[in-house]
């Protein structure tokens, strides 16, 4: 396909504004997928994605469409992840496009999340094509929404497309407007190859499959290729396009979107943001924007039963094949024995990994409270980097602890200005500035410690703004802070996995709240269990989990032994999911209790 006939675009939409439904309709209309094969949300292949309604991994699909001029066009739709944890992945996917469909719900209007993504798209110089969806809804007010969009991006309100992805109204026009408005890819077909890797997945036959957008040059399937950042040299197992499944081709031309099956065994050698070039005729430099994956949040993952350690290791290896941003290394906890210290992009990423280990690999695991990475300057002049409270050296040897601070941007309707201020400042956030990008919306900028951000910040922000606020963050710097380790003793033994690093000012309050929470979460055992929190060798709070006094089924239910058995099985199962620490059974929730201490 000639460059002139290629269009690469993505879809920007708030959750629930109908991105997936529209994508499905486009696939059906272009005959990319038959009605029979149609399964809701084709692009979101993971079960988890379907459930959460959020795209976790990017993906791409090629559609053929005959334009109004009677010519055939290749339309590449690149789907982007929908969560702030994956900001880098989103930016690389956007870099592979020239245009973006901005989908706005006709009954809801523009929402904060959409705005954040819209800014990202504008930064990437994409042509924005606004589309008003759900005009079939009784509550639709498309005229007002058109006015709002027009104020924001300056388009003519009368020219904005109005569609219903659900009942199929005006879908064809969407394809036509993509052909008309999205510029064809620029790129030089004769220049040395530069192809952007915007996603990868692992295939047990083909190795790592890199999703690529050719910027300059072409690829033929016999070519020897080099990844410029990792310097891996490969001869592709196969190259091809997304139609929508992988379909092998002989060539990929300038401007097009496709895949390169690398045969590589780990995603570490083929990373998102890297650039493919020809080994023989190298480009001078790689495409801009490449970053090494940088985990922000760290947590221990331990098998409930020690014997599952090897299974857990294998599962993490497999997950990492598809997810270069997941890092892990073996660690030992006094309380939890053998497990792994894992690094994640953010809390959402961590939850996804936890759920996949439990569901796809059927593992009973304990995840400890997440921590950030601290820089500890020692009195002897050395600097340690630690990502676990257990690693914090003796207070006496520490000169200073550096804590990671972030810059955050929160978009919200102005009504929630006060609520957002409250949420941020209560968590040591420092107000920096505010902008008013559009009528009724404000962007508030703060600096805040990352440690505060990972402790239910996003949940609080969402609940206090009824879901309207969106959040974006970037690393700012390490700042020296007055921090201390909050230790927890269960049955008089210090449990390293329950420890936390907290600001000294908050140690007392947090220690009390944590003990109260733990008392609720640790079930009664056969003996009384004292629990204590201490900081700087001083006990801050203590409580007793009372001994279980009576636990016996009273009645026989007229010979229904199966029912009795089931009740006991249920009770036993609950017990099995708890981790034995010393002689005390501690449930998973207790290890995350420090995250749920609430606002007060």
């Amino acid at each position: 396909m000639s460059q002139e006939h290629i269009r690469n675009f993505c879809i920007i939409a708030h959750i629930d504004h109908g991105k997936s439904t529209l994508a499905d309709r486009l696939l059906q209309l272009t005959g990319t997928i038959s009605d029979r094969e149609m399964q809701a949300q084709v692009l979101d292949t993971m079960d988890l994605e379907r459930e959460k309604g959020v795209t976790i991994k990017a993906s791409a699909v090629r559609m053929m469409h005959t334009g109004k001029d009677g010519q055939e066009y290749e339309l590449n739709l690149i789907d982007t992840p929908g969560h702030v944890d994956f900001g880098y992945e989103v930016s690389r996917a956007l870099a592979a496009c020239e245009g973006a469909l901005l989908i706005v719900d006709a009954s809801q209007g523009m929402e904060a999340q959409t705005l954040a993504n819209l800014y990202l798209a504008l930064e990437s110089d994409l042509e924005i094509i606004p589309v008003i969806n759900k005009i079939d809804l009784p509550a639709a007010h498309p005229d007002d929404v058109a006015e709002e969009i027009s104020n924001l991006i300056g388009s003519n309100p009368d020219e904005i497309l109005r569609i219903s992805a659900k009942d199929g109204t005006n879908i064809e026009a969407v394809l036509d407007v993509v052909v008309e408005k999205v510029p064809p890819p620029k790129g030089d077909p004769d220049a040395p190859l530069r192809a952007l890797v915007f996603d990868t997945h692992y295939d047990s036959f083909k190795g790592v499959v890199a999703y690529v957008r050719l910027v300059d040059g072409k690829i033929a399937h016999q070519d020897e290729l080099e990844l410029m950042a990792t310097e891996a040299v490969i001869r592709p197992v196969e190259i091809g396009v997304f139609a929508p499944d992988l379909q092998a081709t002989k060539n990929l031309s300038t401007g097009s979107v496709g895949y390169v099956a690398t045969g590589l065994k780990t995603v570490n050698e083929s990373r998102v943001g890297d650039t493919f070039t020809h080994n023989e005729q190298r480009a001078e430099e790689g495409l801009p924007g490449y970053q090494e994956p940088k985990p922000m949040v760290f947590a221990g993952i331990y098998p409930v039963e020690g014997e599952d350690f090897d299974d857990l290791k294998e599962a993490l290896e497999k997950l990492q094949l598809n997810d270069a941003s997941l890092v892990y290394q073996a660690e030992t906890s006094q309380a939890l024995n053998f497990g792994f210290r894992c690094g994640f992009l953010g809390m959402f990423h961590m939850e996804i990994i936890q759920e996949r280990l439990e569901r796809e690999y059927d593992l009973d695991i304990i995840v400890t409270a997440p921590s950030v990475e601290y820089e500890v300057l020692m009195k002897d002049g050395k600097t340690l980097t630690i990502d676990s409270p257990a690693e914090l050296p003796d207070e006496g040897d520490i000169e200073e602890i550096g804590e990671p601070w972030m810059e955050i941007q929160i978009f919200t309707p102005t009504d929630y200005y006060g609520a957002v201020m409250d949420v941020a400042t209560k968590r040591r956030g420092i107000y920096v500035s505010e902008d008013y990008p559009t009528q009724g919306r404000v962007q508030l900028n703060f600096e805040i410690p990352l440690a505060e951000l990972i402790v239910d910040f996003f949940d609080q922000l969402k609940s206090r703004t009824r879901g309207y606020a969106s959040l974006d963050y970037q690393f700012k710097e390490y700042r020296p802070e007055d921090l201390t380790k909050l230790e927890v003793l269960v049955n008089k033994e210090s449990v390293d996995a329950l420890a936390a690093i907290v600001h000294k000012e908050h140690a007392y309050h947090k220690g009390q709240a944590l003990i109260t929470k733990l008392k609720e979460l640790i079930p009664r055992q056969l003996f009384a269990v004292p629990i204590q929190a201490s900081a700087n060798g001083r006990v801050i709070s203590r409580a007793n989990v009372k001994a279980l006094r009576k636990d016996v089924l009273a009645k026989c239910y007229g010979g229904d032994v199966s029912r009795k058995r089931k009740l006991l099985e249920k009770q036993k199962k609950g017990k099995k999911r708890m981790k034995m620490v010393g002689s005390v059974e501690i449930p998973q929730e207790a290890f995350l209790a420090v995250l749920r201490l609430g606002d007060d």
């Binding site: 056969l526 006094r549 009576k550 089924l553 032994v561």
Partner: protein, 395 residues
């Protein structure tokens, strides 16, 4: 047919009540009295079908009319059921035939008829002597009704009477409970079933507690009540032979236990007939359909099925030898004096109990929940309080 030679026990379910109590999650229905005559015909039909499928008259040593409220049936209806039973089974001479009755649903004449037709044990749903507690439980009687019913029962010749009581009720203090027990003892029953209230899922009481209309009972107070009850009844000469059951010793010093329930706890075969009834026979756990309407329909129109099924059988589960061994432990350890005999176990399963459950026994012994007395494995004093922690190891 299994190698078991008997005798068997027979449970008959009567799923009717005048009112369904707020705590009850049994298979019973209020307001369906008009189904009673058909239900009795269906039950008789099922009894006959069962015997036909068995191809022989199995020997029975106990029959138990449970519910629901079996005392809502007329004497004629009970008579019809019992005569179907004696035709279908070989009712052994030294039998125990129990009927569950609610105070307020019996009178002198009905009790007279019951006794005359061979029912020789009454289990009376007293639950409490306290009017406020009876209201919370939504019972339809008061303590006077219990006194009256027991008087009549004694007058017509019942010599084996059980009283059911519940402890650990919302608002109930230990003093309240002690008064209930004293008043029950004043009626000179032979047997006491004292159950700790379980707030069952889906019951009106669960909803009331959930909404804060009733306080959730304090489990520690219930533990205190249980401990007091054990001590007090022990001092009065009662035998605590099962977790929730106490019996007076008979002339030979043996507790006058409920022989029907012993069959369950010893994990021996029993037949369950009637809507939602459960049976365990020929290595199979079987259960009948729950709804009385469907039950009637099935029994009156259904064809003969393979033993031990009847037209009303809704589920059949085969119990493998290992599961049967586990269940023998799980049920048998509820018997506080008898426990599980090592030699009986070996005779029954051809395996050493201590080998099969070596790990479980070591763990439970270590916790001080299980001990061995001569040939018998028994719960310790601590184990009685924490039975589930023990039973759980055998599922």
């Amino acid at each position: 047919m299994s190698s078991f030679l008997g005798p068997y026990s027979l449970y008959l379910h009567i799923p009717f009540c005048r009112h369904k109590c707020g705590y009850c999650d049994f298979n019973t229905y209020a307001g369906k009295e008009d189904l009673q005559p058909d239900y009795v015909r269906a039950l008789c039909a099922e009894i006959t079908q069962f015997a036909e499928a068995a191809g022989e008259r199995l020997p029975l040593h106990t029959v138990f009319f449970g519910g629901g409220t079996p005392s809502l049936l007329t004497s004629q209806q009970l008579e019809a059921i019992l005569s179907a039973v004696s035709e279908a089974f070989e009712l052994l001479p030294d039998n125990e035939i129990t009927l569950e009755a609610n105070p307020g649903t019996v009178d002198l004449a009905s009790l007279q008829a019951m006794h005359a037709m061979g029912i020789n044990r009454l289990s009376m749903g007293m639950q409490s002597a306290n009017p406020a507690e009876l209201r919370i439980l939504e019972r339809q009687h008061d303590f006077d009704d219990v006194v009256q019913a027991i008087d009549w029962a004694r007058a017509v010749g019942f010599e084996n009477i059980n009283l059911d009581l519940i402890f650990g009720l919302p608002y109930q203090s230990i003093g309240d409970w002690q008064r209930n027990v004293e008043l029950a003892l004043g009626l000179n029953p032979e047997h006491l079933s004292l159950y700790n209230l379980t707030i069952e899922h889906g019951t009106p009481m669960e909803k009331q507690v959930g909404r804060g209309l009733l306080p959730e009972p304090d489990p520690d107070e219930a533990a205190e009540m249980y401990i007091w009850t054990m001590q007090h009844l022990n001092a009065e000469g009662w035998r605590h032979y099962e977790v929730s059951n106490w019996a007076r010793p008979d002339d030979n010093g043996e507790p006058l236990a409920c022989r029907h329930n012993l069959q369950y706890w010893r994990n021996l075969p029993y037949i369950g007939l009637g809507a939602g009834a459960h049976g365990f026979i020929g290595g199979l756990r079987v259960a009948d359909v729950l709804g009385p309407g469907v039950y009637i329909e099935r029994c009156l129109n259904g064809a003969l099925r393979k033993f031990p099924r009847t037209a009303a059988t809704a589920s059949v589960n085969e119990i493998g030898p290992y599961t049967e061994m586990q269940e023998t432990m799980m049920m048998g350890l509820r018997l506080l004096e008898e426990g599980v005999s090592s030699s009986d176990f070996e005779e029954r399963f051809g395996k050493q109990l201590e080998d099969v459950f070596a790990e479980e026994i070591a763990y439970l012994r270590g916790l001080g929940l299980l001990e061995k007395h001569d040939d018998r494995w028994l719960l310790t004093g601590k184990g009685r309080m924490l039975g589930n922690q023990v039973f759980m190891q055998f599922v």
